[in-house]
Assembly symmetry: C2
Homo-oligomer: 334 residues x 2
DNA sequence: CTGAAAGCGCTTACAG
DNA sequence: CTGAAAGCGCTTACAG
């Protein structure tokens, strides 16, 4: 690979002049510039981003840290974030933690050593201290979907409201025994979904029907979990007429479990996912779901992050918390 | 952030000694080492990877370039590659091209300027020249799933055989009118799938039933495409008793189209996907599919890539082409 | 308008 | 066993 020095030599100027010509940092005589450009062309020179980064203290790279990509809203989100970042001249580095705090810690440790200028994270809920340290180190940070620390800006969905409205929607459809498949309450989104559900149930005078497993802290974001929860609900509540699933994969599991038991959807049982992403459309029984505007959320998160990265050290932007509402997409299942 | 210099000052030694102590490059007196470690601890020093990279000419970062992540084997693959790379101390940078050669070109251009030590790519088929240039520049490269250039090592699936065997499997199940939903032939995998299909049809004396749209070069890797192809097949071939779909999303679309027409699966129509990934298990009608061992493929690709990256310049490893066979996972749809 | 010099944070021969 | 020096490839005051 050709370096600045090679170009300088070929164009018979100093490296600093080449640098200025390339970056437009200051005026360079047209003739000189032409010679330089010719040399650049000839050597097919391209600047070494490492050296630039070292010199300028910026990497133009961000990290996206998500629990998983499989069949979750994080799939959409990661794709949108990457696109939005690229549109602004930033590369992104993707990491999945599998929702395991240990993986997350390891990943954060690597990242903090100058790998990236900032990160967008949907955290596991356990490494709050480390997140703050990294943020304090001067690495920009935005929480997405999961808000676990109030000292760091966030872009999240209004799960409480989505959940509340879904219960009301099902009630209007005639449902009176609505079960909730959720996840560990220590993660904010699950907690919020439960709160919305509870408030609606209270308002409407409905019984709260939750699976016992919800309290468990494990991989609730899975087909198997959704399937077993559905079975539990059906066994314990013969009168059940609707199932609300926290995430799509649980909803898919519910659809499968119901079919396996010969229960028809939506006639005998309505199924709604509280965190839909694009897959809802592609199922045999298309799934009604609350959908978050993932593109807008991604764009906002990237915008906020880059703003923080590029702000002068003396006037960093304050903490911002953006909340997006989901919209109910009516499909066959509910 | 503390730097080497800070540590050196605090430990009253030279930066070079700190460097050696930290990297174990040469023996350092235990007392000195202890002092250094204490300083490191105190300042919570972590080396700047940028500077290390610049100095050593290595980034310990690879790029993963795939067409898309949504509902395709690339989802599994990207996740496995990232994990395999991380296990070997490499970070990965993920890019999607949306199968658009322009996006691909732009992405490759950014990447080549010192961003990464190597890349694993499932290319669009159009930028062969650029790929070779980058490879010639000394950036390690492995093609995955799609082999488009014979001068670059590859790890691919044996689509020809998978396709051939699927026809035979369906034949044994009693199917005699087997339709194929495929994609643009200029991409090697589609071509191979067609070849296997054709060979089997010839061997068994079956009529070839392909959709006209297969010749089209567009987004064939989509639900909409699969749906319309299924409709076309049904309209033109009333006797059809099986559908082979090149990829899962097409298979999902077929399942949906069949249900919409009231055709039962697998009784009246069998459906098999030729490139299954984990989703086949999670559908209402679970989908029979040929599945590639994505973890092994990812591991092999990473291994080969890192070998190439870390090889001495004088003895780079030769070109390797690994072919993995898929296995048929029998599920409800076929 | 352009050159010479310093420096970003590290590593690695070279001495001793 | 450790220090002093050079250099990875760039950018940016500082002169002129």
């Amino acid at each position: 690979m050709a370096t600045l020095k090679d170009v300088a030599r070929l164009a018979s100027v100093d490296v600093s002049t080449v640098s200025r010509a390339l970056n437009g940092t200051s005026y360079v005589h047209p003739d000189t510039k032409a010679r330089i450009m010719k040399a650049v062309e000839e050597l097919s020179y391209r600047p070494n981003v490492l050296a630039q980064g070292l010199r300028k203290g910026k990497r133009h790279t961000i990290a996206i840290i998500v629990p998983t990509l499989h069949l979750t809203i994080f799939d959409d989100l990661a794709q949108e974030i990457e696109a939005a970042a690229r549109a602004r001249g930033y590369s992104s580095l993707l990491c999945h933690t599998m929702d395991d705090p240990k993986n997350e810690r390891e990943c954060l440790r690597r990242l903090r050593s100058g790998f990236v200028d900032g990160m967008i994270i949907a955290a596991t809920g356990k490494n709050t201290h480390l997140l703050r340290d990294i943020h304090a180190d001067g690495i920009a940070m935005i929480q997405i979907v999961r808000r676990q620390d109030h000292t760091i800006s966030s872009v999240v969905g209004d799960y409480e409201r989505g959940s509340y409205e879904t219960v009301n929607y099902l009630y209007r459809k005639g449902c009176r025994a609505i079960g909730l498949i959720n996840g560990p309450m220590l993660k904010a989104p699950y907690k919020a979904r439960y709160n919305g559900y509870r408030r609606a149930a209270a308002d409407l005078g409905l019984e709260e029907i939750c699976t016992r497993e919800d309290q468990r802290d494990g991989v609730t974001n899975s087909f198997e979990y959704g399937y077993s929860c559905t079975e539990e609900l059906l066994d314990l509540h013969p009168d059940l007429d609707a199932i609300m699933a926290a995430v799509d994969i649980q909803g898919m599991a519910a659809l499968k479990a119901l079919r396996d038991r010969g229960i028809s959807v939506p006639e005998q049982m309505r199924v709604v996912s509280l965190t839909g992403y694009s897959i809802g459309n592609y199922l045999e029984t298309t799934m009604t779901s609350q959908e978050l505007p993932s593109r807008q959320m991604a764009e906002k998160a990237v915008e906020m992050l880059i703003e923080e990265i590029e702000a002068k050290p003396d006037k960093k932007p304050g903490i911002q918390n953006l909340i997006f509402s989901s919209s109910l997409m009516e499909r066959e299942s509910g």
